[in-house]
Symmetry: C2
Subunit: 344 residues, 2 copies
């Protein structure tokens, strides 16, 4: 695994600061009342990683574009991401986000849901600036990418939730990967990469190689996220641990555990998956976690993530083959080890 270039984290912080500032300025310029404005600014002002807008800004720069040209899109990515987080936290009834109470715990479920809707509306508004800056044709292409992303994200989220409701016991790692391409990769990596390349290269580059790279990079991110939810440090992770187990989410670890257990043990896991979330007690969650550890399910997922990261590294070389070396190109490459090694 390539070690990150020195200065990687500083560059990430700088991209994060730019995108967040732009997102906040769209919020402040929107004319909404403080009933929307205050809760909508809440998560944006908490320390986040800013991976998604950073990937868009760095890709635009690496492909020869001006970072300012990608700023409305990066702000839209950050605003959409924040909208998803707010709704996701309500959906999972999570307690913590970025080390503080979730929005619905702070303002009530109704206002939080409405704030998520508002953030999505503001994201769409940010995209309109592309028309003035990039011209109508490119703006329309970017719009199409966001439209596609939104459909994929909603569909992937529905698939994951549907699997939970069905208490599925027959899923494979391939099913899991198909689901996270939709749920996670489109908005985390595929969209930022494709939009960044579109803006940076101006004439529509061949975006196909980006699909493979974005898929592997996003999958590495999601698998790491699932692992941190199980065995991370709550202080670094910023969310309460074990939420995925409580929700009965179909992770690689759970899918592995089904494959690795037999008879009574397997029945026990199937029973756990079939429970409604509020009946999954701390005891039974701890029991399933211990089974995952003893059957090597966590180690399996960690090894799986490392394999995916290796595939990401070769897909990167293909997708960025015609892109000359630069700090922004190195930044994108350095995101690969960051995805699988991060603690938050």
């Amino acid at each position: 695994m390539t070690l990150p270039t020195s200065g990687f984290l500083e560059q990430l912080d700088e991209y994060d600061r730019m995108a967040r500032q732009a997102a906040l300025s769209y919020l402040r310029g929107s004319g909404v009342s403080s009933y929307v404005g205050v809760p909508a600014a809440d998560y944006l002002q908490r320390p986040g990683k800013g991976l998604r807008p950073a990937l868009c800004l760095a890709t635009c720069t690496a492909f020869g574009g001006d970072v300012q040209d990608a700023l409305p899109s990066a702000a839209a990515i950050e605003l959409f991401h924040t909208a998803f987080l707010v709704h996701d936290d309500v959906e999972d009834d999570s307690e913590l986000r970025r080390g503080a109470p979730t929005l619905h715990r702070r303002y009530g479920r109704a206002l939080a849901m409405n704030t998520g809707d508002g953030l999505a509306v503001l994201a769409l508004g940010a995209l309109r600036d592309n028309e003035y800056r990039l011209g109508r044709r490119l703006a329309a292409q970017i719009w199409s990418e966001f439209d596609l992303m939104a459909r994929q994200t909603v569909d992937g989220q529905a698939r994951e939730l549907g699997w939970q409701l069905e208490g599925r016991t027959d899923l494979t790692p391939g099913d899991y990967l198909d689901m996270i391409i939709q749920k996670t990769c489109w908005y985390t990596t595929l969209l930022p990469l494709r939009v960044g390349a579109l803006i940076g290269a101006r004439n529509p580059a061949d975006l196909e190689p980006m699909l493979r790279f974005g898929f592997f990079l996003g999958a590495a991110f999601q698998i790491r996220d699932d692992i941190l939810n199980l065995i991370g440090s709550e202080a670094a992770y910023g969310k309460e641990l074990l939420g995925d187990l409580r929700e009965g989410k179909q992770t690689l670890m759970l899918i592995h555990l089904f494959a690795a257990t037999e008879h009574a043990n397997r029945d026990r896991v199937a029973e756990f998956v079939a429970l409604p979330p509020h009946e999954r007690s701390a005891e039974v969650i701890a029991e399933v976690l211990a089974m995952m550890q003893s059957h090597g399910s966590v180690a399996f997922a960690e090894e799986f993530a490392r394999g995916i990261a290796r595939s990401a590294a070769s897909a990167f070389e293909e997708a960025f083959a015609n892109v000359p070396d630069s700090p922004s190109r190195r930044f994108v490459r350095d995101l690969i080890p960051f995805m699988v090694d991060r603690e938050r």
Copy 2:
């Protein structure tokens, strides 16, 4: 009050059928999985009034346009409306919608929220068809109307929810009207009217007179809705009654009750408003409803709605002054008495 022209309800049903069919065809053509598709089609297949798309289709026709030209916009209106209903039902934890269990009671909160997000994404997709059918410029104008509407709706909803959280006791009928312009009128009447006129007249008509008409028409609708929530027939209304009281919503009746009571009675109402929703028992809700009846708060709101409807009738003549008589023009005018007399 003008009596509705015979055939009004049949025409309403016909517009409703057209818009609903178009909305369902966007859903079916979207490529989303059944995890989104099935719950997203649920409300669309229940009997609704279809007022909003009907207003858009009728206005387009009255202004000289082809009803087909307004169909993508009418479908988008219906899809957005359905998205709002789904989220609104989660926000208020309502039990019934259109005479059957709400989506989150049927599929769980998480899947319902995600379905609402999906319906909004599909609505945006429907708007893209305007570009091919109406040209880029008109499509962009329509898009701006939807963007403005979405901001207003989110802001109005936040204001209402914020007032509930604050337990406000100082609001006036003027505050209430300001709030429902944002929360209700934009998406119920202003947007359908303005978009219908834009498409029907092709060259951008003066949309200012429409603002007054749409405001009065939408306000009449919302006040009637609040009254039905208190004293309607649950079978006709299709939602459980008294939900607004349980939620502590600031309606004209509640605002009137504050103004009409003094001393201990007023303190009793203030206490009620300050309670969290789950502490508003059936007994205390019945007590406040009885106070509203005995202080004439319901009669006040009914009279207020009739006054608003009279203003709507004169604003209609102004907004449609240059529009020749036609069945569609008469349909729009007939919506005024329908708004204040309806039982569902």
